[in-house]
């Protein structure tokens, strides 16, 4: 009795494949709509300039979000900074100059990657050094074990 009834339900119910496709289409439309929201902002007419600006965006941290670059962020300040960077790019300011300008106003924390300076050598090389020490320690330990075992 029961198996027959449930079979009937499957037959009359929603085709799972159709349901999956519909969900996929809905998700794609949703994702496209959010992408559209970001492209509403005016990009530079010169594609080379816009590409240069985009590259700079990826290097600059959004100051009011955690960990996002202004390339990804939807925060107001990020949009503001993108506009300012674009206008400086179209004025002909060099990449390095633009980044220097921003760090002079906001400090090094505005960079996605800390700069490679003497002060940050420990930050950059520390993890590798610790790993090497760890490996060294393990090697010494294993060697010691070999000598002690009969």
């Amino acid at each position: 009795m029961k198996p027959a009834a449930s079979l009937q339900r499957v037959k009359r119910g929603v085709n799972p494949l159709r349901h999956f496709c519909a969900s996929l289409i809905a998700i794609t439309i949703f994702l496209c709509s959010t992408a559209h929201a970001l492209t509403i902002e005016k990009t530079l007419e010169n594609p080379k300039d816009e590409a240069r600006a985009q590259e700079i965006f990826r290097q600059i941290r959004c100051m009011v979000c955690s960990g996002e670059s202004i390339a990804d962020s939807r925060a107001d300040l990020a949009g503001n900074m993108r506009e300012v960077i674009r206008s400086k790019v179209s004025e002909g300011m060099g990449d390095k100059q633009i980044v220097e300008y921003l760090t002079s106003r906001y400090g090094n924390e505005i960079l996605m990657q800390p700069p490679l300076q003497l002060a940050t050598y420990l930050l950059w090389f520390g993890p590798v050094l610790i790993l090497l020490c760890g490996i060294g320690g393990v090697v010494c330990f294993l060697r010691g074990r070999k000598n002690h075992s009969p």
């Binding site: 009011v64 503001n80 300012v84 206008s87 921003l102 106003r105 924390e109 520390g126 320690g137 330990f141």
Partner: protein, 173 residues
């Protein structure tokens, strides 16, 4: 034997503590890389009919506040009554930078809440805001008579903030 195993663990814990401390130590509200340097050139057209725009010349010769705000900014409304107090008691002139705002919205905001400003500059595209190293509204800079940035405060300026942070610097060079 024990010591050998403990050492890397101890080092790891120490590194973790230091990193955690640095991470949690968010930049102080009065830090800004312009502090101690001359105020960058500001040249903003008037945002409000009846008051001039903002430029450095008008600000020289006296201590002034440069206040970044917007009619859309809810936290700005918290500091607004205190700014009115500063204006009414002639304590210090306030130059407003109207960020990303519309003239009608600004006019309505000032009509409802009062106008504490000597001049209001229109920074719709936010170029000046970035030039001042500002990250949001409200933010206020204290400028010396010679045009040097003495301090910057990110947040609403109210009685306690004024007394603790701004007032002691009046008279500084």
């Amino acid at each position: 034997m024990r010591a050998f195993f403990m050492t890397p663990l101890v080092i790891f814990l120490l590194v973790m503590i230091v990193m955690l401390a640095k991470l949690l130590d968010s930049p102080p509200k009065d830090m800004n890389f312009l502090v101690g340097k001359p105020l960058p050139a500001i040249n903003l057209a008037a945002a409000y009919e009846g008051l001039p725009g903002v430029n450095n010349e008008a600000m020289k010769g006296k201590y002034v506040l440069v206040n970044v705000f917007g009619s859309w900014c809810i936290t700005c409304q918290i500091e607004h009554p205190f700014l009115m107090k500063l204006k009414q008691n002639n304590i210090i002139p306030i130059y407003g930078i109207n960020w990303r705002d519309k003239p009608e919205a600004l006019a309505a905001y000032l009509k409802t809440n009062g106008n504490p400003y000597e001049a209001i500059g229109n920074d719709f595209d936010g170029k000046t805001v970035v030039d001042l190293g500002v990250t949001g509204a409200p933010e206020t800079l204290l400028i010396s008579p010679e045009g040097k940035v003495l301090m910057r405060y990110a947040g609403p300026v109210v009685d306690e903030v004024w007394a603790l942070k701004f007032q002691p610097l009046l008279g500084a060079k």
